[in-house]
């Protein structure tokens, strides 16, 4: 049983490792000549998080250090979400030819680009883990087991969400700019650098309740023990993930016969 399971997942693991290696080579090339190389990714995130947490800390109920961790966890997930949207507007149009020459199908191409995003997110997570171990070890605990279901959900939502974004921009080119602007708006509309717990009503209340991103941010913070485990957040995020997966699958099935032929 265990052997059969291992055999079935081994090819996927092997492909994932290969893709992570590819992402590393590409990221290294991006920072060619820089002494810190790929470390600039997590370092720039860290600098931005420090700035956000210093400028936007206005809460009496949350100490500055806790607010820093709150923003850190939220910001790195936000970067992953933003990259899923803004980085997926022209995948098929610009990278399919490259993919075909390297033996990748359309789903394979989206898988490869998902790994690129996970690579960046992974680097940020490593820096978060180091900061948490050194400065916030008292917060780390059993809630970390929630990370696995959380990771599975964001991976699925990101994979299918990327295809949805791409197909929408192919069919309606004007939406490319809308996605770019929308992501900027969503950054401010999501509780990345403001606390959802302190919102009782008004526009922010609406944004917290009806913005799916806020549930994913809550989940990330719950895995780190910054927020109390709230099953309803997980259920809503699961429903959103399922909806994205179903919509992405339907979009793929409905478009696979013509999408490669659109020029």
């Amino acid at each position: 049983m265990t052997m059969a399971l291992w055999k079935s997942i081994r090819p996927y693991l092997s492909a994932a490792i290969r893709f992570f290696h590819i992402s590393y080579i590409e990221a290294k090339a991006q920072h060619h000549g820089a002494r810190l190389g790929v470390l600039w990714g997590p370092l720039s995130s860290l600098c931005f998080v420090v700035m956000l947490s210093l400028i936007f800390h206005h809460s009496e109920s949350m100490p500055q250090s806790d607010f820093f961790l709150y923003v850190f966890v939220g910001y790195i997930l936000w970067s992953f979400i933003a990259e899923t949207i803004t980085g997926s507007t022209d995948i098929i149009q610009k990278r399919l030819d490259f993919a075909v020459h390297n033996g990748l199908s359309v789903p394979g191409l989206f898988g490869k680009i998902l790994v690129d995003r996970l690579f960046s997110y992974g680097l940020n997570l490593v820096s978060l883990a180091l900061v948490a171990i050194v400065f916030f070890h008292d917060k780390l605990g059993a809630s970390l087991v929630l990370f696995l279901p959380f990771a599975l959900m964001i991976v699925a939502a990101s994979f299918f969400g990327a295809y949805l974004v791409n197909i929408i921009t192919i069919l309606f080119p004007d939406t490319r700019t809308l996605f770019q602007v929308g992501v900027r708006f969503l950054f401010f509309a999501s509780p990345v650098f403001w606390s959802a717990n302190e919102v009782t009503g008004g526009v922010r209340g609406l944004l917290t309740t009806y913005n799916p991103v806020s549930y994913f941010l809550s989940m990330a913070r719950q895995t780190m023990g910054i927020q109390v485990f709230n099953p309803s957040d997980w259920l809503i995020a699961l429903a959103v993930t399922a909806a994205i997966c179903v919509a992405g699958t339907l979009a793929y099935l409905g478009s696979r016969n013509f999408i490669r032929n659109l020029k």
């Binding site: 490792i17 290969r18 080579i25 030819d97 075909v100 390297n102 033996g103 013509f258 032929n261």
Partner: protein, 251 residues
């Protein structure tokens, strides 16, 4: 076993319509353009049927825009058929254009590393393969520089050397095969031949009779997206040449 079965397949490209549809009549080359509500449909292939098995080596001939490249792309899965049936068994290695699948901003070494990983070379053997590519290409120090700084000849050398990593049962090559730098050494040139010999099925588009004679045993003449003739080179090529000459005289 490798196999390609195409039955009555038609392939169209779609372009978003911009402005009016006047002036979109077909020219002396290229496929028919159908003006739709939101898209222009270019009927690149119509009712193509083809069955290839192990050992088949087929050359594609036809004027520009006849549908040769689209047929290659259909076999490689780069485009989909809107009607008909396409079944491809075996790993496909498409070689459409010189440098396709490589990243110009990366060095020769990085491109070789990436190629190894994409071609599923075991991680433990990547560095050995990369050194082999470096040796074969003869690029020396240029191997460590970005590909965008290469001359056309240097790019050819790198691409030809990377063929060492290609392991397709079905090899699909477009006309770039003709543009290889004549100064390439025998080893690199030999790699190309080995790659072709190793493949179970070869589909090659070329205008060169010499290339076709060297590597294929049958040719398919495609015109306006349809198969006009298919058979041994000696039978089909003279007909194609005659048609081409008459066509040029009519112009």
């Amino acid at each position: 076993m490798a196999r390609i079965d195409i039955e009555n397949a038609s392939v169209s490209y779609y372009l978003r319509k911009r402005g009016g549809a006047s002036g979109l009549k077909g020219g002396s080359v290229g496929a028919q353009i159908i003006v739709g509500k939101r898209y222009l449909e270019i009927a690149a292939l119509r009712n193509i049927s083809l069955s290839l098995k192990d050992g088949d080596r087929v050359g594609l001939v036809g004027i520009n825009g006849s549908g040769k490249s689209t047929l290659l792309k259909l076999c490689a899965g780069a485009v989909a058929a809107q009607s008909g049936r396409v079944s491809v068994e075996g790993t496909v290695s498409p070689q459409f254009a010189l440098g396709s699948g490589l990243r110009p901003e990366l060095t020769g070494r990085q491109n070789a590393e990436l190629k190894c990983l994409y071609m599923r070379v075991p991680q433990s053997m990547v560095s050995r393969y990369v050194e082999e590519v470096k040796e074969l290409s003869g690029l020396g120090g240029y191997f460590e520089l970005p590909m965008q700084s290469y001359s056309a000849g240097m790019r050819s050398r790198l691409v030809m050397s990377l063929l060492r990593l290609v392991r397709g049962e079905i090899l699909i090559m477009d006309e770039w095969i003709n543009v290889a730098d004549p100064s390439l050494n025998a080893t690199v040139g030999g790699l190309q031949s080995k790659l072709i010999e190793r493949s179970k099925i070869l589909i090659l588009a070329s205008h060169s009779r010499r290339v076709l004679d060297d590597w294929v045993n049958e040719i398919m003449w495609i015109d306006k997206g349809e198969i006009r003739d298919f058979g041994p080179i000696g039978d089909v090529y003279p007909k194609y040449q005659k048609w081409l000459t008459e066509r040029n005289e009519r112009k």
